[in-house]
Symmetry: C2
Subunit: 202 residues, 2 copies
Protein backbone atom coordinates (compact mmCIF):
# COMPACT_ATOMS: atom_id res chain seq x y z
CA UNK A 1 0.00 0.00 0.00
CA UNK A 2 1.66 3.18 -1.23
CA UNK A 3 1.48 6.29 0.91
CA UNK A 4 -0.98 9.04 -0.05
CA UNK A 5 1.53 11.76 0.65
CA UNK A 6 4.92 11.75 -1.07
CA UNK A 7 6.60 15.00 -0.07
CA UNK A 8 9.66 14.61 -2.25
CA UNK A 9 7.62 13.86 -5.32
CA UNK A 10 5.30 16.76 -4.61
CA UNK A 11 8.21 19.14 -4.32
CA UNK A 12 9.74 17.83 -7.51
CA UNK A 13 6.42 18.11 -9.30
CA UNK A 14 6.15 21.77 -8.29
CA UNK A 15 9.70 22.46 -9.45
CA UNK A 16 9.28 20.81 -12.82
CA UNK A 17 5.90 22.38 -13.45
CA UNK A 18 7.33 25.77 -12.59
CA UNK A 19 10.32 25.19 -14.85
CA UNK A 20 8.06 24.29 -17.75
CA UNK A 21 5.72 27.26 -17.27
CA UNK A 22 8.58 29.70 -16.72
CA UNK A 23 10.09 28.40 -19.93
CA UNK A 24 6.90 28.87 -21.92
CA UNK A 25 5.51 32.04 -20.38
CA UNK A 26 8.38 33.64 -18.43
CA UNK A 27 8.62 34.12 -14.70
CA UNK A 28 6.35 37.13 -14.19
CA UNK A 29 4.09 35.89 -16.93
CA UNK A 30 3.33 32.76 -14.95
CA UNK A 31 1.02 33.10 -11.96
CA UNK A 32 1.22 30.97 -8.87
CA UNK A 33 -2.33 29.83 -9.56
CA UNK A 34 -1.27 28.50 -12.97
CA UNK A 35 1.57 26.53 -11.42
CA UNK A 36 -0.70 25.17 -8.73
CA UNK A 37 -3.41 24.18 -11.22
CA UNK A 38 -1.07 22.47 -13.67
CA UNK A 39 0.77 20.64 -10.89
CA UNK A 40 -2.55 19.42 -9.51
CA UNK A 41 -1.93 20.78 -6.05
CA UNK A 42 -3.00 23.81 -4.07
CA UNK A 43 -1.48 27.07 -2.96
CA UNK A 44 -1.06 25.76 0.55
CA UNK A 45 1.23 23.02 -0.68
CA UNK A 46 3.33 25.36 -2.76
CA UNK A 47 3.84 27.84 0.06
CA UNK A 48 4.62 24.94 2.36
CA UNK A 49 7.68 24.12 0.28
CA UNK A 50 8.70 27.59 -0.90
CA UNK A 51 8.58 30.89 0.97
CA UNK A 52 7.36 32.76 -2.09
CA UNK A 53 7.46 32.96 -5.85
CA UNK A 54 11.03 34.25 -5.91
CA UNK A 55 12.27 31.43 -3.71
CA UNK A 56 10.62 28.97 -6.05
CA UNK A 57 12.42 30.65 -8.91
CA UNK A 58 15.75 30.39 -7.12
CA UNK A 59 15.16 26.70 -6.56
CA UNK A 60 14.35 26.19 -10.24
CA UNK A 61 17.67 27.82 -11.11
CA UNK A 62 19.72 25.94 -8.54
CA UNK A 63 18.19 22.53 -9.09
CA UNK A 64 16.69 22.31 -12.57
CA UNK A 65 18.73 24.67 -14.72
CA UNK A 66 21.99 23.76 -13.03
CA UNK A 67 21.39 20.10 -13.78
CA UNK A 68 20.54 20.83 -17.43
CA UNK A 69 23.72 22.81 -18.01
CA UNK A 70 25.66 20.07 -16.29
CA UNK A 71 24.14 17.34 -18.42
CA UNK A 72 24.28 19.10 -21.77
CA UNK A 73 27.57 20.94 -21.56
CA UNK A 74 29.80 20.44 -18.57
CA UNK A 75 29.87 16.66 -18.42
CA UNK A 76 30.35 16.14 -22.19
CA UNK A 77 33.15 18.70 -22.32
CA UNK A 78 34.89 17.63 -19.13
CA UNK A 79 37.14 15.12 -20.86
CA UNK A 80 37.14 16.66 -24.33
CA UNK A 81 40.35 17.34 -26.18
CA UNK A 82 38.54 18.29 -29.39
CA UNK A 83 35.93 20.78 -28.18
CA UNK A 84 34.98 22.01 -31.65
CA UNK A 85 33.84 18.58 -32.75
CA UNK A 86 32.23 17.84 -29.41
CA UNK A 87 30.32 21.12 -29.30
CA UNK A 88 29.13 20.59 -32.85
CA UNK A 89 27.82 17.20 -31.74
CA UNK A 90 25.97 18.80 -28.83
CA UNK A 91 24.43 21.35 -31.16
CA UNK A 92 23.42 18.60 -33.55
CA UNK A 93 21.62 16.86 -30.71
CA UNK A 94 19.86 20.09 -29.72
CA UNK A 95 18.90 20.81 -33.29
CA UNK A 96 17.24 17.40 -33.36
CA UNK A 97 15.29 18.33 -30.22
CA UNK A 98 13.92 21.33 -32.11
CA UNK A 99 12.62 19.03 -34.82
CA UNK A 100 11.05 16.61 -32.35
CA UNK A 101 9.41 19.26 -30.19
CA UNK A 102 8.74 22.29 -32.39
CA UNK A 103 7.21 24.29 -29.57
CA UNK A 104 10.71 24.87 -28.26
CA UNK A 105 11.23 26.98 -31.37
CA UNK A 106 9.35 29.81 -29.72
CA UNK A 107 10.33 29.14 -26.12
CA UNK A 108 14.03 29.85 -26.30
CA UNK A 109 16.60 28.84 -23.72
CA UNK A 110 15.24 28.70 -20.16
CA UNK A 111 18.50 29.99 -18.72
CA UNK A 112 18.68 32.89 -21.14
CA UNK A 113 14.99 33.74 -20.71
CA UNK A 114 15.21 33.88 -16.94
CA UNK A 115 18.46 35.82 -17.05
CA UNK A 116 17.19 38.50 -19.40
CA UNK A 117 13.98 38.84 -17.46
CA UNK A 118 15.16 38.75 -13.87
CA UNK A 119 18.83 39.68 -13.60
CA UNK A 120 18.16 43.42 -13.66
CA UNK A 121 15.15 43.12 -11.36
CA UNK A 122 16.40 40.91 -8.57
CA UNK A 123 20.01 40.69 -7.44
CA UNK A 124 19.64 37.19 -6.00
CA UNK A 125 18.40 35.92 -9.33
CA UNK A 126 21.28 37.62 -11.09
CA UNK A 127 23.94 36.12 -8.84
CA UNK A 128 22.54 32.61 -9.05
CA UNK A 129 22.16 32.76 -12.81
CA UNK A 130 25.62 34.26 -13.15
CA UNK A 131 27.07 31.27 -11.35
CA UNK A 132 25.59 28.95 -13.96
CA UNK A 133 27.01 31.02 -16.78
CA UNK A 134 30.42 31.00 -15.10
CA UNK A 135 30.34 27.21 -14.81
CA UNK A 136 29.34 26.93 -18.43
CA UNK A 137 32.04 29.30 -19.67
CA UNK A 138 34.66 27.64 -17.46
CA UNK A 139 33.87 24.25 -18.92
CA UNK A 140 34.26 25.58 -22.45
CA UNK A 141 37.42 27.48 -21.54
CA UNK A 142 39.05 24.39 -20.05
CA UNK A 143 38.11 22.28 -23.03
CA UNK A 144 39.65 24.88 -25.34
CA UNK A 145 42.89 24.70 -23.36
CA UNK A 146 42.84 20.94 -23.65
CA UNK A 147 42.12 21.31 -27.35
CA UNK A 148 45.11 23.59 -27.82
CA UNK A 149 47.38 21.16 -25.96
CA UNK A 150 46.13 18.30 -28.11
CA UNK A 151 46.73 20.30 -31.27
CA UNK A 152 43.05 20.43 -32.19
CA UNK A 153 42.73 24.21 -31.76
CA UNK A 154 44.86 27.07 -33.03
CA UNK A 155 47.58 27.95 -30.58
CA UNK A 156 46.92 31.69 -30.71
CA UNK A 157 43.32 31.23 -29.51
CA UNK A 158 42.55 33.00 -26.24
CA UNK A 159 40.54 30.44 -24.23
CA UNK A 160 38.75 32.87 -21.94
CA UNK A 161 37.39 35.44 -24.38
CA UNK A 162 36.65 32.71 -26.91
CA UNK A 163 34.61 30.79 -24.34
CA UNK A 164 32.60 33.91 -23.54
CA UNK A 165 32.03 34.57 -27.21
CA UNK A 166 30.83 31.02 -27.80
CA UNK A 167 28.27 31.24 -25.00
CA UNK A 168 27.15 34.65 -26.29
CA UNK A 169 26.82 33.31 -29.81
CA UNK A 170 24.74 30.35 -28.64
CA UNK A 171 22.40 32.35 -26.41
CA UNK A 172 22.04 35.05 -29.02
CA UNK A 173 21.22 32.43 -31.64
CA UNK A 174 18.47 30.87 -29.58
CA UNK A 175 17.07 34.32 -28.97
CA UNK A 176 16.97 35.12 -32.66
CA UNK A 177 15.46 31.73 -33.48
CA UNK A 178 12.68 32.57 -31.05
CA UNK A 179 11.91 35.72 -33.02
CA UNK A 180 12.26 34.12 -36.45
CA UNK A 181 10.36 30.94 -35.53
CA UNK A 182 11.52 29.34 -38.72
CA UNK A 183 13.46 26.11 -39.33
CA UNK A 184 15.19 27.58 -42.38
CA UNK A 185 16.58 30.27 -40.14
CA UNK A 186 17.72 27.60 -37.68
CA UNK A 187 19.70 25.99 -40.47
CA UNK A 188 21.23 29.29 -41.49
CA UNK A 189 22.24 30.07 -37.94
CA UNK A 190 23.59 26.57 -37.50
CA UNK A 191 25.87 27.16 -40.45
CA UNK A 192 27.05 30.45 -38.98
CA UNK A 193 27.84 28.84 -35.65
CA UNK A 194 29.59 25.90 -37.29
CA UNK A 195 31.75 28.20 -39.39
CA UNK A 196 32.79 30.12 -36.32
CA UNK A 197 33.67 26.99 -34.38
CA UNK A 198 35.55 25.47 -37.30
CA UNK A 199 37.60 28.65 -37.64
CA UNK A 200 39.15 27.75 -34.30
CA UNK A 201 40.72 24.61 -35.75
CA UNK A 202 44.32 24.76 -36.94
Amino acid sequence: MSPVRTPEETRMMILETALDLFHRSSFTGTSINQIVDKAGITKGALFHYFKGKNELGYAVVEECLKRQIQEHWITPLATSVDPVSDMLAILEKMSQMLVDEPHILECGCPLNNLSQEMSSRDETFRLRLLELYRDWEDAIEKSIRAGIDAGNIKEETDPQSTASAIVALLEGSIGLIKVNKDMAYVARMGQGIANFLLSLKP
Copy 2:
Protein backbone atom coordinates in the same frame (compact mmCIF):
# COMPACT_ATOMS: atom_id res chain seq x y z
CA MET B 1 2.98 83.35 -27.08
CA SER B 2 3.51 79.61 -27.28
CA PRO B 3 0.48 77.32 -27.36
CA VAL B 4 -0.47 75.41 -24.22
CA ARG B 5 -1.12 72.20 -26.10
CA THR B 6 1.51 70.68 -28.36
CA PRO B 7 0.10 67.36 -29.56
CA GLU B 8 3.15 66.21 -31.44
CA GLU B 9 5.44 66.90 -28.52
CA THR B 10 3.08 65.16 -26.14
CA ARG B 11 2.98 62.09 -28.31
CA MET B 12 6.74 62.06 -28.62
CA MET B 13 7.14 62.50 -24.87
CA ILE B 14 4.92 59.46 -24.27
CA LEU B 15 6.89 57.40 -26.78
CA GLU B 16 10.28 58.30 -25.37
CA THR B 17 9.19 57.83 -21.77
CA ALA B 18 7.77 54.44 -22.67
CA LEU B 19 10.95 53.47 -24.51
CA ASP B 20 13.06 54.39 -21.49
CA LEU B 21 10.87 52.56 -18.98
CA PHE B 22 10.51 49.49 -21.21
CA HIS B 23 14.28 49.48 -21.51
CA ARG B 24 14.83 49.65 -17.76
CA SER B 25 11.93 47.55 -16.48
CA SER B 26 10.63 45.57 -19.47
CA PHE B 27 7.25 45.89 -21.13
CA THR B 28 5.05 43.99 -18.71
CA GLY B 29 7.13 45.26 -15.83
CA THR B 30 6.18 48.83 -16.66
CA SER B 31 2.67 49.95 -15.77
CA ILE B 32 0.72 52.54 -17.70
CA ASN B 33 0.55 54.58 -14.52
CA GLN B 34 4.34 54.69 -14.34
CA ILE B 35 4.57 55.93 -17.91
CA VAL B 36 1.91 58.51 -17.31
CA ASP B 37 3.53 59.76 -14.09
CA LYS B 38 7.03 60.01 -15.51
CA ALA B 39 5.83 61.70 -18.68
CA GLY B 40 3.91 64.22 -16.60
CA ILE B 41 0.60 63.54 -18.31
CA THR B 42 -2.53 61.55 -17.51
CA LYS B 43 -4.08 58.31 -18.58
CA GLY B 44 -6.61 60.14 -20.69
CA ALA B 45 -3.85 61.66 -22.79
CA LEU B 46 -2.09 58.35 -23.29
CA PHE B 47 -5.23 56.55 -24.39
CA HIS B 48 -6.03 59.45 -26.66
CA TYR B 49 -2.90 58.74 -28.69
CA PHE B 50 -2.68 54.95 -28.35
CA LYS B 51 -5.48 52.38 -28.32
CA GLY B 52 -3.80 50.38 -25.55
CA LYS B 53 -0.53 49.33 -24.04
CA ASN B 54 0.26 46.95 -26.88
CA GLU B 55 -0.32 49.63 -29.51
CA LEU B 56 2.03 51.90 -27.59
CA GLY B 57 4.59 49.12 -27.65
CA TYR B 58 4.19 48.64 -31.39
CA ALA B 59 4.75 52.37 -31.90
CA VAL B 60 7.88 52.27 -29.76
CA VAL B 61 9.21 49.48 -31.99
CA GLU B 62 8.26 51.10 -35.27
CA GLU B 63 9.37 54.61 -34.43
CA CYS B 64 12.02 54.53 -31.71
CA LEU B 65 13.79 51.21 -32.10
CA LYS B 66 13.69 51.34 -35.90
CA ARG B 67 15.38 54.72 -35.85
CA GLN B 68 18.05 53.52 -33.43
CA ILE B 69 18.99 50.53 -35.58
CA GLN B 70 19.02 52.75 -38.59
CA GLU B 71 21.32 55.29 -36.97
CA HIS B 72 23.72 52.89 -35.33
CA TRP B 73 24.01 50.16 -37.93
CA ILE B 74 22.27 50.54 -41.24
CA THR B 75 23.43 54.01 -42.19
CA PRO B 76 27.09 53.48 -41.18
CA LEU B 77 27.26 50.17 -43.04
CA ALA B 78 25.38 51.29 -46.13
CA THR B 79 28.49 52.47 -47.96
CA SER B 80 31.03 50.26 -46.17
CA VAL B 81 33.50 48.17 -48.10
CA ASP B 82 35.43 47.19 -44.96
CA PRO B 83 32.67 46.05 -42.61
CA VAL B 84 35.01 44.46 -40.08
CA SER B 85 36.75 47.75 -39.36
CA ASP B 86 33.51 49.70 -39.49
CA MET B 87 31.69 47.36 -37.13
CA LEU B 88 34.62 47.45 -34.72
CA ALA B 89 34.33 51.23 -34.78
CA ILE B 90 30.61 51.01 -34.00
CA LEU B 91 31.33 48.68 -31.10
CA GLU B 92 34.01 51.02 -29.83
CA LYS B 93 31.47 53.83 -29.80
CA MET B 94 28.93 51.67 -27.96
CA SER B 95 31.53 50.56 -25.47
CA GLN B 96 32.17 54.23 -24.72
CA MET B 97 28.44 54.70 -24.11
CA LEU B 98 28.66 52.00 -21.46
CA VAL B 99 31.39 53.95 -19.68
CA ASP B 100 29.47 57.23 -19.87
CA GLU B 101 26.14 55.82 -18.73
CA PRO B 102 26.85 52.79 -16.55
CA HIS B 103 23.19 52.10 -15.91
CA ILE B 104 23.00 50.68 -19.43
CA LEU B 105 25.24 47.89 -18.13
CA GLU B 106 22.22 46.29 -16.51
CA CYS B 107 19.59 47.36 -19.01
CA GLY B 108 20.73 45.44 -22.05
CA CYS B 109 19.64 46.08 -25.62
CA PRO B 110 16.10 47.44 -25.90
CA LEU B 111 15.47 45.50 -29.10
CA ASN B 112 16.70 42.24 -27.61
CA ASN B 113 14.82 42.79 -24.36
CA LEU B 114 11.52 43.43 -26.07
CA SER B 115 12.05 40.54 -28.49
CA GLN B 116 12.79 37.99 -25.80
CA GLU B 117 9.90 39.17 -23.70
CA MET B 118 7.15 39.66 -26.23
CA SER B 119 7.82 37.66 -29.40
CA SER B 120 6.40 34.45 -27.98
CA ARG B 121 3.48 36.22 -26.34
CA ASP B 122 2.16 38.47 -29.09
CA GLU B 123 2.45 37.73 -32.79
CA THR B 124 2.22 41.36 -33.82
CA PHE B 125 5.16 42.20 -31.62
CA ARG B 126 7.12 39.30 -33.06
CA LEU B 127 6.53 40.29 -36.67
CA ARG B 128 7.40 43.93 -36.12
CA LEU B 129 10.55 43.08 -34.18
CA LEU B 130 11.49 40.46 -36.76
CA GLU B 131 11.38 43.14 -39.44
CA LEU B 132 13.97 45.18 -37.55
CA TYR B 133 16.25 42.16 -37.20
CA ARG B 134 15.90 41.42 -40.90
CA ASP B 135 16.87 44.99 -41.79
CA TRP B 136 19.84 44.78 -39.47
CA GLU B 137 21.02 41.43 -40.82
CA ASP B 138 20.50 42.57 -44.40
CA ALA B 139 22.66 45.62 -43.84
CA ILE B 140 25.46 43.47 -42.44
CA GLU B 141 25.06 40.89 -45.18
CA LYS B 142 25.32 43.49 -47.91
CA SER B 143 28.36 45.08 -46.33
CA ILE B 144 30.02 41.68 -46.17
CA ARG B 145 29.39 41.19 -49.88
CA ALA B 146 30.90 44.60 -50.56
CA GLY B 147 33.81 43.69 -48.32
CA ILE B 148 34.45 40.49 -50.27
CA ASP B 149 34.34 42.37 -53.56
CA ALA B 150 36.79 44.93 -52.20
CA GLY B 151 39.14 42.21 -51.00
CA ASN B 152 38.68 43.09 -47.33
CA ILE B 153 36.93 39.86 -46.40
CA LYS B 154 37.81 36.23 -47.12
CA GLU B 155 36.24 35.04 -50.35
CA GLU B 156 34.89 31.81 -48.89
CA THR B 157 32.79 33.71 -46.29
CA ASP B 158 29.05 33.07 -46.57
CA PRO B 159 27.49 36.53 -46.18
CA GLN B 160 24.06 35.41 -45.02
CA SER B 161 24.91 32.98 -42.24
CA THR B 162 27.80 35.15 -41.13
CA ALA B 163 25.51 38.16 -40.81
CA SER B 164 23.09 36.15 -38.70
CA ALA B 165 25.91 34.91 -36.52
CA ILE B 166 27.24 38.43 -36.00
CA VAL B 167 23.85 39.70 -34.85
CA ALA B 168 23.48 36.68 -32.59
CA LEU B 169 26.92 37.23 -31.13
CA LEU B 170 26.17 40.88 -30.44
CA GLU B 171 22.78 40.33 -28.86
CA GLY B 172 24.07 37.40 -26.85
CA SER B 173 26.98 39.50 -25.63
CA ILE B 174 24.78 42.31 -24.40
CA GLY B 175 22.62 39.75 -22.66
CA LEU B 176 25.58 38.23 -20.86
CA ILE B 177 26.94 41.65 -19.95
CA LYS B 178 23.58 42.35 -18.31
CA VAL B 179 24.03 39.29 -16.11
CA ASN B 180 27.71 39.89 -15.35
CA LYS B 181 27.33 43.64 -14.78
CA ASP B 182 31.07 44.02 -14.84
CA MET B 183 33.30 46.19 -17.00
CA ALA B 184 36.08 43.60 -16.94
CA TYR B 185 33.67 41.15 -18.51
CA VAL B 186 32.76 43.76 -21.12
CA ALA B 187 36.43 43.97 -22.07
CA ARG B 188 36.74 40.19 -22.27
CA MET B 189 33.66 39.93 -24.45
CA GLY B 190 34.89 42.78 -26.60
CA GLN B 191 38.04 40.83 -27.26
CA GLY B 192 36.04 37.74 -28.18
CA ILE B 193 33.90 39.69 -30.62
CA ALA B 194 36.91 41.44 -32.13
CA ASN B 195 38.71 38.15 -32.65
CA PHE B 196 35.72 36.72 -34.44
CA LEU B 197 35.33 39.73 -36.69
CA LEU B 198 39.04 39.85 -37.48
CA SER B 199 38.95 36.17 -38.45
CA LEU B 200 36.80 37.23 -41.40
CA LYS B 201 39.64 39.28 -42.89
CA PRO B 202 41.81 37.66 -45.54
